[in-house]
Symmetry: D2
Subunit: 369 residues, 4 copies
């Protein structure tokens, strides 16, 4: 048994998942479910990672032959992590490595870099799946709350998960390759606490421009994303939950510019018409942007895993967008709400809710196939 150490850049058979740059020395993982997949013979497999962060350490999960087998916190440093050993050396094993933590817009140094694989076998190509899906969302899509006891309130990486979410589950049901573009607390128009910088559409055209600071610049996260390189069959947008919350949160004041923003309610409790118009305009504009970037994709706006407060407004905006543009490949789907039985940690949807959502969403997508 002879072990080889092969740089990721030297493994053309390796399939990279998630938006990232063209750099492979190392391969940088930005987003939830960013990662890589390989088919390999041999008895043993290790991966050499380089991990950085200031506050929020990344975690990863991985599957072997499609079954989830491990999950761990990644401390800072450059080191080898064992993935499997003792397996039948003749057989081809499929190994899929998932970043469990979202791109952390609050920590400009939180990254996983993948350098090298150590192994005693040979790589073979990973077959393409039937479909490609891009998921765009907030904490729900980032899998927040999918780990941790129900009473947990800490906002920490340990409670985020790629593989327990509706995204992974939907993709598995449909035999789809998928990518996630999501940020906890953010919305279409502003964050849960009224910060308009936390509007997902502002960052959609770059690889990962919501990560702040010079390290992201250096890594190329701020560079334009090459949409032509990966055109999804379906774009699933699951946004609106934080926009809804912002109507009941205090005004946000930018500490530098002193500019402030707040989504307001009328004295009778209804949403202020002007603010709602802004929200709906943001929905429509985002749909137009997604369409511009993904000309052939079926776009599904999803909503409802944490209540349906803005449902009618979202539907109105989606409908107006479709009518005004003649875009017939846009639709809306309500997802199952979180209940006391299906709740996870941090008052977020738990595994059961994500499972129900995946069933509904996969069933809906199937109708288009």
């Amino acid at each position: 048994m002879m072990f080889k150490e092969t740089l990721v850049k030297d493994i053309p058979e390796l399939k990279v998942h998630g938006r990232t740059t063209v750099c492979r020395e190392p391969l940088t993982l930005f987003w939830t479910a960013g990662g890589f997949e390989c088919n390999v013979t041999g008895s043993e497999l290790w991966v050499e990672l380089e991990v950085t962060y200031d506050v929020y350490e990344p975690w990863f999960s991985y599957t072997v032959n499609g079954d989830w087998v491990g999950r761990q916190m990644l401390p800072k440093g450059r080191y080898w992590v064992p993935l499997f050993r003792g397996m039948n050396p003749e057989k081809i094993k499929n190994m899929h490595f998932f970043k469990d933590l979202q791109a952390m817009s609050d920590d400009g140094n939180s990254y996983i870099h993948v350098h090298t694989l150590r192994h005693d076998g040979a790589f073979s190509p990973v077959a393409d799946r039937r479909l490609k899906i891009e998921f765009i969302g907030d904490s729900i899509t980032s899998g927040e709350g999918l780990f941790g006891a129900e009473q947990e309130q800490d906002w920490i990486p340990m409670f985020f998960s790629a593989v327990r979410g509706y995204t992974y589950q939907t993709a598995e049901k449909l035999d789809a390759e998928y990518r996630i573009f999501s940020q906890s607390g953010w919305g279409v128009h502003n964050t849960w606490d009224n910060n308009t910088r936390g509007a997902i559409p502002r960052y959609y055209k770059e690889i990962c421009s919501l990560m702040p600071g010079s390290e992201n610049e250096r890594l190329g996260g701020n560079a334009p994303h090459d949409f032509a390189s990966w055109q999804p069959d379906f774009v699933v947008v699951n946004l609106g939950t934080n926009d809804a919350a912002s109507f009941d949160q205090p005004e946000f004041v930018d500490q530098y510019t002193k500019e402030s923003h707040k989504m307001r309610r009328e004295p009778d409790g209804t949403y202020r018409k002007e603010d709602m118009r802004s929200f709906q305009r943001a929905v429509k504009d985002f749909l137009a942007l997604i369409r511009a970037c993904n000309p052939g994709a079926n776009i599904i706006w999803c909503y409802g895993m944490l209540g349906i407060d803005l449902q009618l407004y979202i539907c109105e905006a989606v409908s107006a967008y479709a009518r005004e543009t003649g875009d017939s490949k846009v639709s809306y789907l309500q997802l199952p709400d979180t209940t006391s039985e299906s709740v996870g940690s941090r008052e977020h949807p738990g595994y059961l809710c994500h499972k129900q959502a995946a069933e509904v969403l996969a069933g809906y997508i199937t109708k288009f196939l």
Copy 2:
């Protein structure tokens, strides 16, 4: 053990369910889940029914102490039907009789009349439930397809059910009294086959004016409904499925007036704007009508148990209605779609789909309580 025969009109403790006239000699049952409920001591209970029909015979189901125990076809004639016997005579039993068949607009003689109860006990009042709900809908709300093997295609009363539907199940979960106003094949604007006479809103203000002919006139079904007598806390409208179907059905031509109607698609497959506007106007007008009749009710438009083709349009109309009228007690809820696992007979939602719908709907209503 001495049996008494007491006319329904002489039992003030008896609770009547469903829209009907003030006549109690006999009590006429028009709608799905129309019926009566009584609390009674004694060992035995029979009911004297008078049943008429030309084509579609009624069926009934009943519960004893809240548990469903029997269901049978009702042949023509006036006769006694046994409901229970041999029970502990001291205890109060609750018996609830449900018409399983909808008001049959195709058979102006299909009625159940309730004349008399035979018993050896004493009646006591039936306590009011926590809530009142009115369900307005089509075949789904009429419980079509809840009995019968999956391959059944006959359109017959045997396959309609009151007690297996989402209506009964939702009411049970919420401890609600409920009424059903529904007609298989009908919609907000027209029937599945483009007949504008089959628009549910046209009949909403009368007791049961969709039943044709002189017998219904004689029974008082065409008389105005006294809305003040029973004001629901929630009105659940589950319409749109047949309107959606009509876009893909041939033109309807009235055999007498030769007038014709059809909901059309544009050459590119989208809904014709003019027809969609008519549909949306019908949604808005119906909401206004429901509101006028039920000033304090929370109105929930539900949709989705057989697909969500018109969802965006319904939502747009509901939203426009709410904005234009300032009516804040109107909302929209998507219900679970029928799958190959949850389908019933006649390609309709089966028990499992209705169960899932009841969970979603009851959970949603609970948020308002």
Copy 3:
């Protein structure tokens, strides 16, 4: 549409279910799930029944094309009952009529007799199923508690069911024809209240000799059963629950002979060895009897839906029987216990428990196929 009335005796295509005599004018139904099945064209079907009883009225259920559609109490008298109408006259419909009530050893006049079918079609043969199963048991096998609210305590026919039980469900899963031989409260050795007349094995060789009195004699229920006429592939014995209970019940004293009997415990709470030996002897003797009557059958002793107090003793007896006789086609299977979630009325297993039992039993039987 011309209706014919055809005597049961004149319908050779009709399949009779359950132990009964050779008489077909009328066909008498004795046991739970006793009934008949027919394949028939035409739009409508009625059955002419003759029903007698002193105390315990029979109920019946029926399926159309394998789906249960109706259930009702049968009052005394001879009359016609409608089963279906309005169906597509060209298609062959399968109709299966089930006696829901067990043979009632406490009411020597409780019978359903089937005289005639009224129809407008033609009969065709009912295909044989893959297997034949005989179920022998007590109230669990008689389906007691499968209808009625959880708090019900009345011992009445309304709460017995053929089609909700594990017997029907097991047979459906396995595509089996089945018969039931059961009596509520009875055991292998004695009844729950220590009456040795209520030992199921004493009646096994006759058609239905546990029904008392002259009417049963007249009907032929006391005549020997012709085992050769229907040899089961599997005999499932589900007995022991009442034997277990009898150790904690008072002595039974026969009111005529003054003979008494009681299964006793030792002062330390354990079962008295002598009484346990009697019980185990009864188990072994019954196995020998079943084997003698069904030479090729696979015999499965089941137990556990209401606790497993006697499990070790039953297993010991089954094992001893197998060893002593060299009979290798005998085994033992524990069935799922009743829980607070799966309980029905009268503290008996409910539908959920029977469903779980059917899954376990059908899975076990499948291993032999």
Copy 4:
């Protein structure tokens, strides 16, 4: 934030799980679910492990506040592993570390040693649970097959799990502390391949004497176990599956002594009486041994998750043991069989089967409480 490194021996509040020696510098983990649990404040927690093996590397899982959050392979060496960070420093966190791999009788160097905890908080005692349970078993109890895709056939540590098993789940339902004494492939009388050295009872009186070699001697694994130090309320024995298999496997020949052994069948396929007597004697002897070591425990022999071939024989032996000794605190319980839906990897029970088993077992144990 100041981090302290505290030797395990200096943390009296730490609760050790699983049979082990009195040594705490380091604490050695031998068995499946061997581990430790602590209540600790502070934001961060690391553990210093020392891991050795020749062939079979250990894995561990851990829970934070009762929710499973991580699982990973442990390479050789002495190093720090991060468990949590970034948590609210004021709150007490409960952390429970589980060895996922069984004591590996085929690798005398496969151990986890726990040296030190690094933390920035303070420890407080872990409350006792309501019950103590000891589980004795084979691969099923070792959680083999609970990870890995269904097609996996490699016999490797990755596919063993402590926290997905019926043991953990049963303990959680009952609020019990538990220990596991198990070995894959072993039985009461011999291994699946007829090796009589693999008889679980032979090793029951020592701490962990089935581990071979000098390292185990050095660690104290061969020393007598101090039963008085931890008296279980329930001993659950789940053995017999491998004994059953051995009747259909070739003779085992010891490579050194040349002694051979085989459990045989008679020509007619039945178990040879003499061999069956040996098996049953082993069952009885083991019960006597368990009783001697655990005078007050309720002993439950479980069986059935991979078929019930020996059920009657086990029951007979259990029953004979109880009768002959007058031991009334012994019983037998059948556990749910593995189905095509509930199977895991390596043709072993999967998570669903273990979940069903835990429900049955916990429900049964509850009856004694």
